[in-house]
C-alpha cells in the first residue's frame, strides 16, 4: 500500500464511517456519483455554499411547515406520572418527517445540476415526500415501489401520481421495500450521470447517512430548544422509533453531546424477537437489538441476516419499520452505549396507536406508535422529563390498524366491530 493510499484510508475512517460501520459498498459505476455527492454535501450542506442551507431552511418553513410544535401530552403525562412532550413531526407537510430529507436531497440535486430524481419507497411515505418535493422544485421524478406494497398502499400511490411522479412497480422477490431499493440502485447504476437517487433514510453509502441525518437533524435541534423553553432544562430521555433510523438520528443528533440525556431507539418487535434461521425469516425488524454486522445497500451496519450472510425477510405491522438494515451511525451509537436499543411488538404498538388517538386526539403513524408503545412498557427508566418523536400521522394506517385490531383483544382499542356499520 502506497503512502497516499494509507492517507486516503485514514481520511475515510473519520469521514465515511462511524466506528466500524458505514463506508461505501457500491458498484464501481456508482462511485463517482457517490463522490460527487460527498463533494456537494461538503460544499452545500456543511459550508452553505450559494446559500443552500438558507434556501433549504426557508423552504422547510414555508412549504414544509417548520418549526413543528413540541406539545405537552397532558393525559399521557398523567398516565405515566411524568412530563411527556411530543415532537409533532406528524404536522409536517406530507404527514411525516420524511419531507425534511426529501426536500433537502431534491434541492441538493438541483444545486448539483441533476435532471432527474429517483427514489424507493416501502409504505409510500418517502415516495410521497419525494414526489411532493420534486413537484415543488420542478424535477422529474420516478419512484420504485414493490407490487405488494402498491396493492397495500393505494392512497400513497395516488398521491405520488397526483404530484406528477411515475410509480414503477417492482415484482421481484416479496415485492416490498428491499426489492424496491435494489431496483432503484439498478436504475441509478444506469442513469447515474443525470440522476440523483434520494435515499429515504440514514442508510446507504457515505455520504447518505450523514446527509440524511443533517437534513433531519432539525427535529432534535428544534425539540432541544423547545424543551428548554418549556421545561427549563434538557429532558431525561428522548424516544424515537427506528426503521432505517432517519427520524431517530434526526431527533437524537442534537442531543448526542448531552451525556445526561438518554436516547432510546425503539424498533419493531413484530410478533416475536426469535429468528427463524431455517427460513431466513425474522418475525420482527429489531436490527439494533438482534442484528449482526454486515454490508447491505452500500454500508456496513447491523443487519438481520442468516449465518451465511443472506438478508432475512423482516416483519412488522408497520411497513415503514419493516427493513432488515439500519443506519450505520445508529449501529455505532448502540455499540458505544450512547443509544439504548429497545423493541416494541405489533400488539404494544397497536395499543400505543389507540392510546394516543383516544387520549390526546392525535392519530400517530404505526411507526411512531412503537415509540409511544415503549412509554407504556418501560416508562420508569425514562426519568421525569421525556421527549417522544411523533414521526408521522396515521391516516395512512387506518385500514391496517382496523384489520389488525379486529384480530386481537387490545386493551387500548375502541370497539372496532361497529366501525364498519
Amino acid at each position: 500500500m502506497s503512502k497516499s493510499d494509507h492517507e486516503h484510508h485514514r481520511e475515510r475512517d473519520s469521514e465515511a464511517t462511524f466506528g466500524e460501520y458505514g463506508g461505501q459498498y457500491v458498484p464501481e459505476a456508482l462511485m463517482p456519483a457517490v463522490q460527487e455527492l460527498e463533494d456537494a454535501y461538503e460544499r452545500y450542506v456543511l459550508n452553505n455554499e450559494d446559500g443552500f442551507m438558507d434556501e433549504f431552511r426557508e423552504r422547510m418553513a414555508d412549504f414544509g411547515g417548520r418549526p413543528t410544535p413540541l406539545q405537552r401530552a397532558d393525559r399521557l403525562s398523567e398516565r405515566y406520572d411524568r412530563e411527556i412532550y411530543l415532537k409533532r413531526e406528524d404536522l409536517l407537510h406530507g404527514g411525516a418527517h420524511k419531507l425534511n430529507n426529501a426536500l433537502g436531497q431534491v434541492l441538493l440535486a438541483k444545486y448539483m445540476g441533476k435532471e432527474r430524481i429517483i427514489a424507493e419507497t416501502g409504505a409510500g411515505q418517502h415516495g410521497t415526500a419525494t414526489a411532493m418535493a420534486a413537484a415543488h422544485l420542478e424535477m422529474p421524478c420516478e419512484i420504485y415501489m414493490g407490487r405488494t406494497d402498491i396493492n397495500r398502499q393505494r392512497p400513497n400511490v395516488y398521491r405520488m401520481r397526483m404530484n406528477g411522479a411515475e410509480v414503477n412497480p417492482v415484482t421481484a422477490g416479496s415485492a416490498t421495500l428491499k426489492e424496491a431499493i435494489n431496483e432503484t440502485m439498478r436504475d441509478w447504476a444506469t442513469t447515474v450521470e443525470t440522476t440523483h437517487y434520494v435515499i429515504g433514510s440514514v442508510v446507504g453509502p457515505h455520504p447518505f447517512p450523514k446527509l440524511v441525518r443533517d437534513f433531519q437533524a432539525v427535529i432534535g435541534q428544534e425539540a432541544r430548544e423547545q424543551i428548554r423553553e418549556r421545561a427549563g432544562r434538557l429532558p431525561d430521555s428522548v424516544v424515537a422509533c427506528a426503521g432505517g433510523g432517519s427520524n431517530t438520528m434526526g431527533t437524537f443528533h442534537a442531543f448526542v453531546p448531552d451525556d445526561a440525556v438518554d436516547l432510546y431507539a425503539v424498533e419493531a418487535g413484530g410478533s416475536s424477537l426469535e429468528i427463524d434461521e431455517e427460513n431466513a425469516l425474522a418475525p420482527n425488524s429489531a436490527t439494533l437489538s438482534t442484528g449482526t454486522g454486515g454490508v447491505l445497500h452500500g454500508a456496513m451496519t447491523k443487519l438481520l441476516q442468516s449465518e451465511d450472510g443472506q438478508i432475512m425477510e423482516s416483519h412488522s405491522v408497520s411497513a415503514g419499520l419493516d427493513y432488515a438494515g439500519v443506519g450505520p451511525e445508529l449501529s455505532h451509537l448502540v455499540d458505544t452505549g450512547r443509544v439504548t436499543p429497545a423493541s416494541v411488538g405489533d400488539e404494544a404498538a397497536l395499543n400505543g396507536f389507540h392510546r394516543l388517538s383516544n387520549l390526546e386526539g392525535i392519530i400517530p403513524a404505526l411507526e411512531s406508535s412503537h415509540a409511544l408503545g415503549y412509554l407504556e412498557e418501560s416508562h420508569d427508566e425514562l426519568g421525569d422529563l421525556v421527549v417522544v418523536n411523533v414521526s408521522g400521522r396515521g391516516d395512512k394506517d387506518l385500514e391496517t390498524v382496523l384489520e389488525e385490531t379486529e384480530k386481537r383483544d387490545l386493551e387500548a382499542a375502541p370497539d372496532v366491530e361497529v366501525f364498519g356499520q
Binding site: E28, A29, M31, M185, S289, G294, G309
Partner: protein, 294 residues
C-alpha cells in the same frame, strides 16, 4: 504472473464465462462448468448467490433466486469448486456480505448481554482461506469498490488470489489510475452503465473505455451485455484481451433441454468470435440465431 493473468495472456483472446452456482442445483452447475471448459472457456466465474444482487439484471437475479431456492450455501459452493477439475482457472463472484459472514457463525448476536460489547469487525480472511484451499484463483465483488477493498486485498495477497476490479464507464481520472495501479488478474471492463444482462449490441461506452485503458499494460476483459460471437469479435477488435459472458449462458441454463451441450456450443461460438476479432474480419455467418431476450 497469476494463474488468471496467464490464462488470459496465454489464450489471447480469452473467453471468460459466468454461471450462478446452484442454478438449478450444484450438481448441474458441475456439469455446465465442465461443458464450458470443454467449449473453450479460458476462465470461469462462478457466482456464489446473495439475496440482494444489486448489480445484476433480471436474468442473473432469477438465476440467483433459483440457486437460493435450491438451498445453495457457501459450504456447498466451496465443495463444488473443490470437486471441479477444469483446465480454466476458476473465480468466485459474490457480494461482499457473503465474504464477511463466511465462517463467522460463532460471532455472538448483540442481543441479550447487558451493554452490547463492540463487535469485532467481521473477518474476510476465512473466506479467502477457504477459497484458496478449494483452488479458486480469484475473487470479484461487484459491491466492493477499490476504496473499501483493503482488508480483502490483503487477505487475497496473503493467499495468492487475484482480486479483480471492475472499471466502469464512469471510472475516470484519478480513480481510474488508482484502480489500475491495484489491478490483479485483469481489469473487468464494464461495457455500459447499468446492470448485467444480455444485450443486442455492443455499446459505444465499450470503445470509449477501452480507449481510456489502452495506455495500461494489463489484461482487459469486457463484460455486461455480451451475448454472441459477433459481440466478442467487435470487442476484441476494439482492443480487449478477453470477453466476459454471463446472462447469455444463463438463458441457456434456464431454457435449454440440453444445457450442457448448448453451453459447450455457445462457448465455442463465442471463442470463435473472439478469435475472429483478432484478424479484423466481419460477421461470422455460422453464429447461432440471436437468443430470445428475457
Amino acid at each position: 504472473m497469476s494463474d488468471i493473468e496467464a490464462a488470459i495472456r496465454d489464450n489471447h483472446p480469452a473467453l471468460i464465462t459466468y454461471l450462478t452456482a446452484g442454478d438449478p442445483s450444484l450438481e448441474d452447475t458441475k456439469a455446465y462448468v465442465e461443458a464450458l471448459d470443454r467449449g473453450g472457456a479460458d476462465l470461469i466465474e462462478l457466482g456464489l448467490p446473495f439475496s440482494e444482487p444489486i448489480a445484476e439484471g433480471p436474468t442473473i437475479q432469477a438465476a440467483i433466486n433459483r440457486a437460493l431456492d435450491a438451498g445453495t450455501t457457501p459450504a456447498g459452493f466451496f465443495e463444488l469448486v473443490d470437486e471441479l477439475e477444469t483446465e480454466a482457472p476458476l473465480l468466485v463472484m459474490t457480494y461482499y456480505n457473503m465474504i464477511l459472514q463466511y465462517g463467522d457463525s460463532e460471532a455472538p448476536r448483540a442481543s441479550e448481554s447487558d451493554a452490547a460489547p463492540p463487535q469485532s469487525k467481521p473477518d474476510v480472511r476465512l473466506f479467502v482461506e477457504r477459497a484458496a484451499e478449494v483452488g479458486l484463483s480469484g475473487i470479484i465483488v461487484p459491491d466492493l469498490p477499490a476504496e473499501e477493498s483493503e482488508p480483502l486485498r490483503a487477505a487475497c495477497d496473503e493467499h495468492g488470489l487475484d482480486l479483480v476490479f471492475i472499471v466502469a464507464p464512469t471510472t475516470e481520472g484519478e480513480r481510474l489510475e488508482t484502480i489500475m495501479s491495484q489491478v490483479s488478474g485483469f481489469a473487468y471492463v464494464q461495457a455500459r452503465l447499468g446492470t448485467t444482462g444480455a444485450r443486442a449490441d455492443v455499446s459505444n461506452a465499450t470503445h470509449d473505455s477501452l480507449a481510456r485503458l489502452s495506455a495500461y499494460d494489463v489484461p482487459k476483459a469486457v463484460g455486461f451485455g455480451v451475448s454472441k460471437g459477433d459481440h466478442a469479435a467487435e470487442i476484441i477488435e476494439a482492443g480487449a484481451d478477453g470477453v466476459i459472458v454471463g446472462s447469455a449462458l444463463i438463458d441457456i441454463v434456464a431454457e435449454s433441454d440440453t444445457p450442457a451441450i448448448d453451453l459447450e456450443a455457445k462457448a465455442e461460438e463465442l471463442k470463435r468470435g473472439a478469435i475472429r476479432g483478432t484478424d479484423g474480419t466481419g460477421e461470422d455467418e455460422i453464429d447461432a440465431p440471436e437468443p430470445e431476450q428475457p
